[in-house]
Amino acid sequence: MAENILVIGGGPAGLHAAIELAELGVNVSLVERDTFLGGNPKKFKYKYLFPDLQPADDVIGELIRRAESNGNIKKYLSANVESFKEEGKKFNAVIKSDSGSETKTFDSVIVATGFEHFDPAKDSKYSYQLFDDVIDIKDLERMMGEENFNRPSNGKPPKNVAIILCVGSRDRHVGNQYCSRVCCTVSVKQAIEIREHFPQTEVYIFYMDIRTYGFYEDLYWKAMEEHDVQIVKGRVAEITSGPDNTVICKGEDTLLRGPFEIPFDMVVLASGMEGGPQSPEMANKLGIELDEHGFLKYANVTLSPCKSNKDGIFLAGACTGPKAIADAIIEGGAAAMNAYIYAKKNS
């Protein structure tokens, strides 16, 4: 008899895990709370992905198509795991969706519930939601995806754009001390996109460090060397309204050692990633551990990533911390292998 494995979350990590398991002949139940598959990249209509500016549809669309066409994957949309109980080495779960409740027994479980974007309105100094022209990176992804890169205030293309890094990350005040890892790379990618499609628009990136780790550094170099993106070392402490319908960024240029108050047509906040409400929800429901950053905790971060502290429950993707799609997909595969081995041993 085939194994039964539950995958919670239909983003890149969950999709890839489900596909791999299905190809091994496992009966997969894929539970997604949204009305669609694809996770955050789909929800916010990411258009081109770093590192190689590949159309998102080639990656996310492809994963969705593979999952949808595989008969071994039973999809539950607008769904959630309502209750969850261990029974010996197995797990009983009630899955609630539009089509009612279903109780099933699983040999193992993969949690891939992902992340939430930090809500910049929580950090009032950036005046997000106060001024129409202050947006964040997910808003910009969506605008690019909808091919509508104009100032929300007047529908006209911006003359200049400020991108502010580390919003909601690396900051004791907002409660997130970690680095969100992808926002630097997303930001230089977006700077390139802006400059490529709207060469009249000047782009300035305000940074404290630029963490385009590994080969993502290529994008950073490209942004500067091929697209003349300007980088300014310093932070912005206040955003106020300026003349001619602009917004003023008040900050310090730490290299020039002096304050600036510069008007921009548009400001993009590089808001980071958070564990979201789903991480504690999963921790409570499944009896697994949460880490001090609000994400789900690996049993051993070096030796056994993908394993939770509970036998038979595995973790994949951004639910364990900020990461790029490629990493989320790799973890989806690794978690699938772990879950498969566990199921095989105990069935």
């Binding site: 100094k125 580390c166 690396r170 900051d171 004791r172 005040h173 404290m208 070392k233 310093g234 932070r235 912005v236 402490a237 206040e238 008040k250 900050g251 310090e252 240029d253 730490t254 050692r257 002096g258 304050p259 108050e261």
Partner: protein, 260 residues
């Protein structure tokens, strides 16, 4: 004796370092000129006796960092990563560009007294609005670091303070300070500054300096002055007040034994 030297020297020394091209780039302190100088038996007085000290920093003075870290107000100096959020939010920096909390903290971290000395005239200008501490992502509490800085300047550069400002830390000022702490539970530096000037009979001086006057008017106009004055009392202040009252009865003063 000095007069004799002057007479005997090849040429009287006029302005310090007057032969240096681009003289404005070099600090007074870095120029060494002896009126009469003999090196290895060769008299190099006059034109050849101007020396410019190297401007390469050649050591970090760690003891200084430790000293600041031991104080209550400076205890978080090890946290600062120089992001500039404090300076970016500072009420005073836009008015006095040389007042830069981030860079002062850096100088304190590295024990660069030589640099700090250049800012003695502005380093005490913090108005205690705490905007920086509200925003600092590392919770360094830069507003209090500025107090650590003030203590430090008082200790290391007493002469500069006297000559530049004739600051008199007298009993009157102490009384204003205590009244403020006991009455409001907070130190309002802008208020302390003006009250102290008033007590010393220097109110007019406050308004005679062009920068200062401009600063005051600008702050009144854009509402910052109000926000500074409107600081509320801390939560459950009466409890702390009782404790301070008791402490005062025993010691007679709020002023700490100078640790810096």
């Amino acid at each position: 004796m000095a007069e004799e030297h002057n007479k005997n020297s090849v040429r009287p020394v006029a302005e310090k370092g007057e032969h240096i091209i681009a003289r404005h780039l070099i600090d007074d302190d870095a120029i060494k000129e002896e009126k009469n100088l003999v090196i290895d038996g060769v008299d190099v007085s006059g034109r050849w006796n101007t020396f410019i000290e190297t401007r390469v920093d050649s050591e970090y003075d760690r003891s200084f960092f430790d000293e600041i870290q031991k104080t209550v107000v400076g205890s978080r100096i090890n946290r600062c990563w120089q992001c500039g959020m404090c300076t970016a939010s500072c009420t005073v920096t836009p008015l006095y560009r040389r007042f830069n909390p981030r860079s002062f903290i850096y100088m304190m971290q590295l024990g660069n007294l030589k640099q700090l000395k250049k800012y003695v005239d502005v380093a005490w200008r913090c108005v205690g609005c705490y905007k920086c501490s509200q925003r600092c992502p590392k919770q360094v509490n830069p507003a209090e670091m500025m107090e650590a800085l003030a203590l430090l300047i008082k200790k290391y550069f007493p002469e500069e303070i006297k000559s530049k400002h004739q600051l008199i830390i007298d009993e009157e000022v102490k009384k204003i300070y205590e009244g403020m702490i006991l009455g409001h539970g907070r130190l309002d530096l802008a208020n302390l500054h003006t009250s102290a000037m008033r007590k010393m009979g220097k109110t007019s001086e406050l308004l005679s300096d062009k920068d200062e006057r401009g600063a005051i008017f600008k702050m009144m106009k854009d509402g910052r002055a109000l926000s500074v004055l409107r600081l509320g009392k801390p939560h459950k202040w009466h409890k702390s007040k009782d404790a301070i009252d008791k402490y005062l009865q025993n010691t007679g003063t709020l002023e700490q034994e100078s640790q810096v």
